[in-house]
């Protein structure tokens, strides 16, 4: 190893004892090396002498800074302050947006709930190839919304039932694939009569493809609506099931009230008629009485129709044979599907980002001060020199 490279380290005593001995031996043998070593020693000596001693200042300031107010360590670290502020802002924005979402009467959350969930059969539900469990759940939900009983009052006799139970006109449109359309039609008739209902219409024919199918329109008591759907569905595989319900309680109450009013009016005319002496008066009152009577009968007919519709649910069933559903499917356009799905996904993400940007903007009066305070605290955690 080059002796000269270790001369400085030798001078500083930074070599191993063995190396020190080697250098010492080399120095004794080489006057030029000794001169070089001496020059290094002189340079070190002069460097020390040349160095001015800086005037020390600020020790009290340093002590003052250490004695000063100390924030907790997590506050002193600006990263933690920023992270905490960001977290607080996010939580605040989410909480406030959720809270305002609940307060808003027409918020998306409310709008996304199917009408049927709130109104029972007041909405329309469609199910395609639904699993049996889902179908049962849906039926269970529908069943809970069914009126317990619909008892029309003796309107003709003038007694109005009060209070009126909820009256809902229920309809269902059912499509079932079965092994045999004809046998399914016969079984469906039995179901209708067995449940205390009746068949309104039925037909059996061939489809264009040559496969037989059957159609059946039936009315069953409202209480048996779910049972009928269960039994019809059990005839084969349910392809589609559309149920709907129309709440007519308000209409019934309105009709009842109008009947009551008209009846009172009728009684008044009858009293006037009994006291009338002139032919002209009698004819005029009788004419008015006839009009009132017609209106009462019209309202009663309306009432009976609504009661009947609510008392008996309407089910339309179509039975098609299995083969019609087993046609080979056309090859799917997977590329188009993928493209469509990707565009939809991108749209959804864009919308989501947009919604959040709007929320952040709207809630800026809340999170901006928090962020500002966090920034201020982090700045304050680094006190300035006194």
């Amino acid at each position: 190893m080059n002796i000269r490279e270790d001369l400085k380290a030798y001078l500083d005593g930074e070599l191993s004892p063995q190396r020190m001995e080697e250098i010492r031996a080399a120095l004794e043998a080489d006057p030029a090396l000794r001169e070089e070593l001496e020059f290094m020693r002189l340079m070190g000596f002069e460097i020390k002498r040349m160095a001015a001693e800086p005037h020390v200042a600020g020790v009290e300031g340093a002590l003052g800074r250490l004695r000063g107010f100390r924030w907790p360590s997590f506050v002193r670290d600006r990263r933690w302050v920023l992270a905490g502020s960001a977290l607080t802002v996010c939580v605040a924005v989410v909480a406030v947006s959720q809270f305002s979402g609940r307060l808003a009467p027409d918020s998306d959350a409310t709008a996304s709930i199917p009408a049927g969930a709130e109104l029972g059969f007041a909405g329309t539900e469609s199910m395609a190839k639904m699993p049996a469990e889902a179908m049962q759940m849906d039926k269970g939900r529908s069943r809970s919304a069914m009126p317990e009983s619909v008892v029309p009052g003796d309107v003709g006799g003038g007694t109005i039932p009060a209070p009126i139970p909820q009256m809902v006109i229920q309809t269902a449109d059912l499509s079932v694939t079965v092994p045999s359309a004809r046998e399914a039609l016969i079984a469906a008739r039995r179901i209708a009569t067995g449940l205390g209902g009746f068949v309104e219409s039925s037909s059996h024919s061939q489809q264009q493809q040559g496969l037989p199918y059957a159609h059946l329109g039936m009315r069953v008591p409202a209480k048996q609506f779910e049972t009928a759907l269960d039994q019809l569905g059990a005839l084969g595989e349910v392809v589609t099931l559309n149920t709907s319900g129309q709440d007519v309680t308000e209409q019934v109450v309105d009709v009842q009230a109008r009947i009551k009013t008209m009846k009172a009016e009728e009684e008044q005319y009858r009293l006037i008629l009994s006291r009338a002496n002139k032919i002209g008066e009698i004819l005029e009152v009788k004419s008015r009485l006839d009009q009132v009577r017609q209106e009462i009968e019209s309202l009663q007919a309306r009432y009976q129709y609504l009661s009947s519709q609510a008392s008996y649910s309407t089910i339309t069933a179509t039975f098609s044979e299995k083969q019609t559903m087993d046609k080979p499917e056309a090859p799917k356009d997977w590329a188009n599907d993928s493209w469509t799905n990707a565009v939809r996904g991108l749209t959804a993400v864009g919308r989501w980002l947009g919604e959040w940007a709007i929320r952040l903007f709207v809630f800026a009066p809340i999170w901006l001060p928090i962020l500002g305070i966090g920034w201020w605290l982090s700045r304050r955690a680094r006190p300035k020199s006194p």
């Binding site: 270790d6 500083d12 020390v56 600020g58 020790v59 002590l63 004695r67």
Partner: protein, 176 residues
């Protein structure tokens, strides 16, 4: 206070436990050294603030010091970082105003003016180890720890720095 009591392990341990008085004593003991250490790198105008920052960092980090015996090296490492940050902010290299160039005494072997310009001509990293070793009195191992470089690199840098100084001095007729 004797030299042995400076930065004694007991005092450091006490400061690590949160004893503010012990910490204040450590500040009093080491402030001047830290100030000079920084001043020789960034100048006295920036040294005060950087020295104070150094002790604020010490206050926050002293619990992480595992070897109290290496307190001085650890302290100078922190000071070195703050000095480097201050120099970077001020876009400043090691100032030369702390090197006096008073006329050499009659019959002096080396011309101080030439030596001063030779020091100025050194690269920053070479001048740094010269200052640390010759003025601060740090050993090679300590310099290596402060700068975070191998000890062999310190030795090599010092050797090359002195070779360059000698070349300048002898080449420009600095030898008398």
């Amino acid at each position: 206070m004797t030299e042995d009591q400076r930065g004694s392990p007991e005092r450091i341990a006490s400061a690590q436990r949160g004893n503010r008085e012990a910490l204040a004593e450590l500040v009093r003991e080491h402030y001047a050294e830290v100030f000079r250490f920084i001043a020789r790198r960034v100048g006295t105008d920036l040294a005060e603030d950087a020295a104070q920052e150094t002790f604020v960092t010490v206050q926050h980090q002293i619990k992480r010091l595992r070897e109290p015996a290496k307190f001085r090296t650890w302290l100078l490492s922190i000071a070195h970082n703050h000095a480097r940050n201050a120099a970077r902010k001020a876009k400043r290299e090691t100032p030369m105003d702390l090197w006096t160039a008073a006329p050499s005494a009659e019959g002096a072997t080396l011309d101080r003016e030439v030596l001063r310009s030779a020091l100025q001509a050194l690269s920053e990293e070479h001048r740094q180890v010269v200052v640390m070793h010759e003025l601060e009195g740090l050993r090679y191992a300590e310099i290596a720890e402060v700068l975070g470089i191998p000890e062999g690199t310190v030795k090599s840098r010092l050797h090359h720095a002195f070779v360059q100084l000698r070349a300048r001095l002898t080449g420009e007729g600095g030898t008398r």
